[in-house]
């Protein structure tokens, strides 16, 4: 749990830094998304970082666009 708390803090900082960078570079869609959905994105990011890094790709078409 302690590890998760550290990870959450780290992810929060990363998202805030990213939101600022998106804004500074004029990428407003992404900046607004991160700002408006900060809590949800933190949850998504924490879960993603806790997952083992094995390939679990969606369909190749979907993946090719990401």
């Amino acid at each position: 749990m302690a590890d998760n708390a550290d990870l959450r803090l780290e992810v929060q900082k990363e998202i805030d830094r990213l939101a600022a960078e998106f804004k500074a570079r004029g990428f407003d869609n992404a900046a607004r998304y991160l700002a408006a959905n900060r809590a949800a994105v933190i949850e998504i990011a924490v879960r993603a970082r806790l997952e083992p890094k094995k390939r679990d790709l969606p369909s190749p078409f979907v993946y090719s666009m990401q």
């Binding site: 992810v11 869609n29 998304y33 666009m65």
Partner: protein, 617 residues
């Protein structure tokens, strides 16, 4: 100046090293890891490039990534927003869902965006500069990036032989852009027109690829192969989906496609209403009863034949429409640039049928970057930085596609000794090798041929090839069933001496450096009076994807073709990539022996060493 270009994170990771305007090495990660389309960080490819140049990573002045990750994520959010807006405007259920979400603040991140966000955090795609800096232990200041289509533009133009050319890039999607028209002069590239998502030729073709039961980013070649068996009976239906604009641009009717935020399939219910049921992956395909098992009932056979005809006709229609799109873009680009020199890159530039028409009907002097897809952007990123940011003089154009791993003679000896194959012949010269192997080929053998440095790009060009007799009508089936284990409808390509090419194929070979036929990137008709002479490489519609070989471009391979001509009267061989179905091309001697030992290849040639799979009595 030493610039390392990198492409990774999506598909076909690669690295390329540019030193003082010369491409010293370039390699695709899949060749080293043996994972087809490996998208991971290209550690092994980087190691190879540095080793080839004899330098350390600390000697590299700049590392350049091939696209703008943050801009790409901005596009993903934009596309998701547009799609959600469309849904909420699109009927009672959509509006109800939007109202519910607004009222409850539930599901505020749509599923597609949630999935992408998850993937980007998991694979650390946001901070690419940091990732590269960490992986390579280089300061962040040494790492930079260029836009996706700027990488394609640079790969297309700076590696071409032209000082002045029109440039067209076409792919699925980069950040926002899907196609760009530009003009190249010397060290400058000036953009003239950009097409952005959702209008995309690459995604248009890929949607039909998926519908026809093939894997996207892999099966597009199969659509081209299947098209030869059909008639463009559905052309009008497919063509209706595309609007060609006077400015050179185009639009794709979005009612049939899901290009903005695809959660699963790239096509819609409307698409299915127009084109019917999608083809099952791996479904039987046959255009004549004799291609099907004899024990099949007449009803079953009729069903397969009817379905096959339907899907082949659709493939032919999509292919024809795509060719028109490519011709349209090239014509506009050429007019804008005021030159017939045209450079192409982006995955769509691997559509060799379209390339053939550009050469024959368009009359263009065409250059196609051999690794036209995203792997080629490793070179493109390095070249773009070198010219546009570092302002260096024009780099040396492409002189050879053999930029990959060299065949290590020490490894050959060790690998052959370890393999247990004891029927080994070693030739003392290239002439002796050519004569010996030509004799085996003329006798009906299938040969695994590994020489020199591996090819850059998806085509085997006589460095990591499987070769066979092009005059043997049974050879297509033999190689397909015994070696490649792939669909029988897929054609095999010829390698022919440049001096004889126009005798067999209906085009005038351009022997200038960089002609697409050196890289097997254009399809041309086999001359009517020659089709029966070379049945193994003549496709169902009488065409072939030609590779021309000169004594300069590949002396050993050229000598083999000439030696084969002395035996069979035809300076041409069937040439297909040395790999099994679903695997990347072999790279090292050990890879080659592994593939050789599990396939029906008769002889393996590693440099001047010939290994036989047959028990010699």
């Amino acid at each position: 100046m030493r610039v390392l270009g990198l492409s990774f994170g999506f598909h076909d990771s690669a690295a390329a090293l540019l030193i003082d305007g010369r491409i010293v090495a370039a390699g695709q990660e899949e060749r080293f890891t043996r994972i087809k389309h490996d998208a991971d960080f290209p550690r092994r490819a980087i190691e190879f490039c540095l080793k080839k140049a004899g330098i350390a990573i600390t000697d590299v002045d700049r590392v350049v990534y091939y696209e703008n990750a943050l801009k790409k994520f901005d596009r993903i959010v934009w596309a998701s927003n547009v799609r959600e807006q469309q849904k909420s405007n699109g009927g009672l259920m959509g509006r109800a869902r939007a109202l519910w979400n607004a009222a409850t603040n539930a599901n505020d991140v749509p599923p597609y965006l949630r999935s992408v966000t998850h993937s980007w955090f998991k694979w650390e795609k946001f901070d690419v500069v940091g990732r590269i800096s960490d992986e390579l232990a280089v300061p962040r200041e040494k790492v930079t990036y260029v836009d996706h289509h700027d990488s394609h533009l640079a790969a297309a133009f700076y590696t071409s032989p032209f000082d002045h050319a029109a440039i067209v890039t076409m792919d699925g999607v980069g950040e926002y852009e899907t196609a760009v028209i530009a003009v190249g002069r010397g060290s400058e590239i000036e953009r003239k027109l950009a097409i952005s998502l959702p209008h995309s030729i690459g995604l248009f073709y890929s949607a039909f690829t998926a519908f026809l039961g093939f894997e996207v980013n892999e099966g597009e070649y199969k659509v081209m192969g299947m098209a030869a068996f059909g008639q463009p009976r559905y052309y009008d239906h497919v063509r209706k989906l595309v609007t060609l604009r006077d400015d050179g641009g185009f639009e794709i009717d979005q009612s049939c496609f899901e290009f903005l935020a695809p959660e699963t399939l790239p096509y819609t219910e409307e698409f299915l209403r127009r084109f019917g049921e999608p083809r099952e992956p791996e479904a039987d395909f046959a255009v004549q009863r004799s291609d099907l098992p004899e024990d099949l009932s007449d009803a079953q056979a009729a069903s397969i034949l009817n379905n096959s005809r339907h899907y082949a006709d659709l493939a032919a229609s999509v292919q024809l429409c795509t060719e028109e799109l490519v011709l349209h873009l090239a014509a506009k680009a050429s007019a804008i640039a005021g030159t017939r020199n045209v450079c192409l890159a982006g995955g769509v530039a691997l559509n060799s049928l379209a390339n053939g028409r550009l050469i024959r009907e368009g009359g263009y002097n065409l250059f196609v970057h051999p690794a036209a897809g995203d792997a080629g952007n490793a070179i493109g990123a390095a070249a773009s930085y070198y010219h546009r940011a570092a302002k260096r003089p024009r780099m040396q154009g492409f002189t050879s596609p053999y930029l990959g791993s060299p065949l290590d003679t020490t490894e050959v000896e060790a690998a052959v000794a370890e393999s247990g194959f004891d029927a080994v012949t070693t030739c003392s010269s290239d002439e002796e090798l050519a004569d010996h192997v030509a004799g085996l080929l003329a006798g009906g053998a299938v040969i695994g041929w590994v020489q020199g440095q591996a090819e850059w790009g998806p085509r085997a060009l006589g460095a990591r090839s499987i070769l066979a007799d092009a005059t043997n009508p049974a050879m297509k089936r033999i190689v397909n069933e015994r070696v490649k284990f792939r669909e029988l409808f897929r054609p095999f390509a010829p390698a022919v001496t440049a001096e004889a090419a126009s005798q067999y194929f209906d085009f005038e070979p351009n022997l200038a450096a960089g002609a697409p036929e050196y890289y097997m990137l254009a399809v041309h008709p086999v001359r009517a009076d020659k089709k029966s002479l070379v049945p193994a490489i003549t496709h169902a519609d009488g065409s072939a994807r030609v590779q021309i070989v000169t004594s300069d471009s590949n002396p050993t391979f050229h000598a083999l073709l000439r030696a084969f001509e002395r035996r069979k009267g035809v300076p041409m061989l069937m040439n297909t990539s040395f790999n099994l179905r679903g695997e990347p091309m072999v790279d090292s001697a050990r890879d080659a022996i592994r593939t050789f030992s599990v396939s029906g290849i008769d002889y393996l040639v590693l440099g001047r060493t010939v290994v036989s799979s047959r028990v010699e009595l």
